[in-house]
Subunit: 213 residues, 2 copies
DNA sequence: GTATGTGAAGTAATTCACAGCT
DNA sequence: AGCTGTGAATTACTTCACATAC
């Protein structure tokens, strides 16, 4: 293995491999081939091998991968051994659903703060977290050492929220607002744009056969 | 313009152009250049022109695009003039948030049915829609001519739901369950995997400088 | 002069195909 | 014999650059 840039798509697939290999390990399976790993994820064997290859030689030629070992190495690579503090900004319907989302702890993420501008919401408890005013955000983020921020506010407020977050030292943002966020280079943003997902699907509904996706 | 395969990334950007051009039209702007269009979306001028070029010659050489005209053409291309009926399956936190999501109508999507397996929920009203049993799904989907299904159930039930949906004639699926769905070739699926988004971000948190994304 | 439309060049990701290890 | 690891080939997308139209 040589030093190469690792595509983000590869990182994203590694989590799928980890999920799968965790299942297999529960089923007490000892070995797994690249073809088997890719199968239910509809990925080719070559793709799986190339992805894993970025991180070293995990496999046994002629015999596939040792399930337990692969699981441990992937967990390590993917930072599943670490935990991070998370804040959510915006406690509307989507924010509330996300607060209730039990997946956080599984990802090693502790939801430690929630913010809103609505005075009727401030002070209320949600999933054991007290909703605070956005005006206190900077201090609380520093104080609680929050490194990941989730933006679930309307589009027009999103950039301001992103500015405050990055100013306070947040390194990653999951953005649900339907707009592009300008952030400093070292900050990583991922966007989930529900409107756009729906729009894209409705495009395919309208265009049926015309476009081969 | 010749007949070419249109990348899905292009389709997805067209919606961004439409949003922007709609804003500009509200501001009574008459013309817009490809550079201006791309600017706040952090897309290059060439990218914008290439995307629009897939669908014909909309622009005026030397003068950019006529805002109103571009808006109308994009609306047409993207099927914004049509409406579709939508069903949601799973009325947990996420499903409820989506039901409440006001973006639907804007996309020309009418949420006309909601399904759950929980007997305590069945019969209740949510956002003016009565929650029905999953066992009645097939008939209701046909009867109400539902063409888009949203899956917001846990991973283990998701494939079964997808089977019922596609069997009943649903053509597009927005899947929030963290697993790959096997569907007939003509059915279009888009996946929103919140766990994975969080995982990917936490990978970047853990690996700070090491990986240039 | 200015900005489009588009081949050509460049970059990135996927898939192929096979040498080499067990 | 079987399956990995990886360069080479392919495919997909983006960016460049310029002839063309207004």
């Amino acid at each position: 293995m040589s030093i190469k840039k690792i595509p983000e798509t590869t990182i994203s697939r590694l989590f799928l491999y980890l999920r799968k290999v965790t299942e297999l390990s529960k089923l007490s399976m000892k070995r797994v081939s690249s073809a088997e790993l890719g199968e239910s994820l509809h990925l080719g064997a070559a793709q799986v091998r190339k992805d894993l290859g970025y991180f070293g030689h995990f496999g046994v030629s002629g015999a596939g991968y040792v399930v337990q070992e692969l699981k441990e190495k992937l967990s390590k690579i993917l930072g599943k051994d670490k935990t991070f503090n998370v804040a959510i900004v915006g406690t509307g319907n989507l924010g509330t659903a996300l607060l209730a989302y039990s997946g956080f702890k599984k990802q090693g993420l502790n939801l430690v703060a929630a913010f809103d501008t609505d005075v009727n919401k401030i002070g209320k408890q949600l999933q054991g977290v007290e909703i605070k005013a956005v005006s206190h955000m900077k201090d609380i983020i520093k104080e609680k050492k929050i490194s990941l921020g989730i933006i679930a506010v309307p589009a027009k407020g999103a950039q301001d929220v992103a500015d405050i977050l990055t100013n306070a030292g947040v390194k990653c943002i999951l953005n649900f607002a339907p707009r592009y966020l300008n952030v400093p280079e070292e900050v990583k943003v991922r966007n989930v744009d529900l409107s756009r997902e729906l729009e894209i699907l409705s495009y395919f509904l309208g265009n049926g056969k015309k476009v081969k996706l």
